[in-house]
Amino acid sequence: MRELTYREALYEALDQSMKEDERVFLIGEDIGVYGGAFGVSADLQKKYGRDRVIDSPISEAGIAGACVGSAITGMRPVGEIMFSDFVVLCMEQLVLQAAKIRFMFGGKAKVPMVLRLPGGSGTGAAAQHSGSYENWFVHVPGLKVVMPSTPYDAKGLLLAAIADDNPVMFFENKLLYKTKGPVPEEMYTLPIGKSNVVREGKDVTIVATSVEVIRSLEAADKLAEEGIEAEVIDPRTLNPLDMEPITKSIIKTGKALVVHEAAKTGGFGGEVVARIIESEAFAYLDAPVRRLAGLDMPIPYNRNLEYHAAPQVENIVEETRKLVQGVY
């Protein structure tokens, strides 16, 4: 199949949905001529005009409000927050408005909006441009949270998010934009609420998100050389979270490691661990479920410190080995 980068896959999803549905429009900072800080919207303004690819002033609350207000009046906005860190500036519109309007209004309104949020560390952008805050939104009923790790998932999930009648927080990863993979040319959607077993294995279950899925797969290959077969599962959508493949896997392996880039404390890993413990898999655990996550610290500028602030392949290999060998 034809290969695209993660960035190109996202571009294609935007392009195709704009072509197909005139209710879809884009709004964000420097998404027009500039094509977006990470080039995702590229030439879409040339294609669809300034009314459908709207360059915003630096007003993040306004961008979110533009999405909420247009969504409740029949449009299907796709907003971009240049760096996911700056979502801190539109929390009111997302948490108190987008997430709650439908419920507050007795189920009589809907807010079909998507907010694209490029996140993660590893680019030397330091503490204010490298955050991972996805679990905040997992904790906000009314919102859905999507976090693709491959070009294929990126396109299928973005199209699904745009088609969804609920507000969707769409977390992209800066380090993944250049990664390549097979992507069908036609429009297709992936279900929001289905975890994906990306690698099968019998010895241990690794649940990872976004860039950590890629690192976990690399780690799994290294572990295989040692005779350890890891099963790697990518939830792809953090809320709703599909636990079924995860519990099934753990019933088989008896061991689980949860990996994400966001800081460990208060993060998504805790949710996954708690769900595992609450599931039938608990009875099959022959080791404690472990979390491997970002250090509890702001992202440092220094390259070496930054590298060590997030789980890398070697850390996943080591943690998984320890788990399998029963040393922790």
Partner: protein
């Protein structure tokens, strides 16, 4: 119809009487709400607009029901002026399943999206960023609608006010920003929170038209909103209207009002917009009595309807969280 038949060139006698009825109804609704609250029939809090009844009728009568309304926490009057049904409104107030929001929203979140009433908002300035989206939606869909967006004086110091008005300006969005300056944000006096004479002067920061009007004069509010609507429909963008008025009651149910004097309140009560409008449209005391009787019956009927309405069923508690 011909202009001379219209009161002040604006309303037919029927229309004017209806607006007066809405003003009286609003006040009665809120006085009744106070009683019910005192009797423990409603919980939570509520924000009464008694003394500010001219703005809703003046504004809503200046645009059509194809337009949009974005309301505030102090929005009972706007809800009724927009055409809200008293029974379902009362039911919402009592948290009943028959309420506009199935009892989930209450006074602070009452909405009726089907009639383009996009709801009250419990967040100060919460509807301002949303107005930008409504304006964009209108612009993209090329319907000639306008979005009437209410907010208070206090809301004008939120960052959201700034971002929204600038965006509305640079994109020429058809939005009418109507600031109800009732002199206080909770306990905070206007002249403490602002170092300017008129909030409408902030229009200058966005290169849009700003105007300050007597918020207790239905005709003044109506004219300002009509002019703004004309500009908006012509593609000339938003307008910032400041309507000067006064809140007679406390901010909410837990307000001792230590921040103002009884005299000040008394002074403003002399400027009651209801008799003022009644006089202007030539309604006699006798007719006035008739309207009040009508209002009384309507309120009673609504209370009965609401009280006899069912509570939401517990089994439906999660309905409406997701579509």
């Amino acid at each position: 119809m011909e202009k001379e038949k219209l009161i002040e060139g604006v309303y037919t006698p029927e229309e004017a009487r209806h607006l007066l009825y809405i003003m009286i109804l609003t006040r009665a609704f809120e006085e009744n709400a106070e009683e019910m609250y005192a009797l423990g029939k409603v919980h939570g809090t509520m924000h009464l607009s008694i003394g500010q009844e001219a703005i809703p009728v003046g504004a809503s009568s200046a645009i059509t029901r194809d337009d949009y309304l974005l309301n505030t926490h102090r929005g009972h009057g706007h809800f009724l002026a927009w055409g809200g049904d008293l029974k379902h409104m009362m039911a919402e107030f009592l948290g009943k399943e028959t309420g506009y929001c199935r009892g989930r929203g209450g006074s602070m979140h009452i909405a009726d999206v089907d009639s383009n009433n996009l709801g009250a908002n419990g967040v100060v300035a919460g509807n301002l960023p949303i107005s930008v989206g409504v304006g964009l939606s209108i612009k993209i869909r090329k319907t000639k609608q306008v979005a009437l967006t209410l907010f208070g004086d206090g809301a004008a110091n939120e960052g959201a006010f700034h971002e929204a008005l600038n965006m509305a300006s640079i994109w020429n969005l058809p939005i009418i920003y109507l600031c109800e300056n009732n002199q206080y944000a909770m306990s905070t006096p206007f002249d403490y929170a602002f170092k300017i004479e008129e909030i409408s002067s902030r229009a200058g920061s966005y290169g849009i038209k700003g105007v300050t009007v007597d918020g207790n004069d239905v005709f003044a509010v109506n004219k300002a909103v009509r002019d703004a609507a004309n500009r908006a429909r012509k593609g000339n963008g938003p307008t910032l209207i400041e309507a000067i008025t006064y809140r007679w009651r406390g901010h909410s149910k837990s307000d001792r009002q230590a921040y103002r004097t009884r005299e000040e309140v008394k002074e403003w009560m002399k400027k009651d917009p209801i008799p003022r409008f009644a006089a202007k449209i030539g309604v006699t005391d006798k007719e006035m009595e008739k309207i009040k009787q009508q209002v009384k019956q309507d309120i009673q009927a609504a209370v009965e309807y609401a009280e006899n309405s069912p509570e939401p069923d517990l089994s439906t508690i999660l309905e409406g969280v997701y579509a």
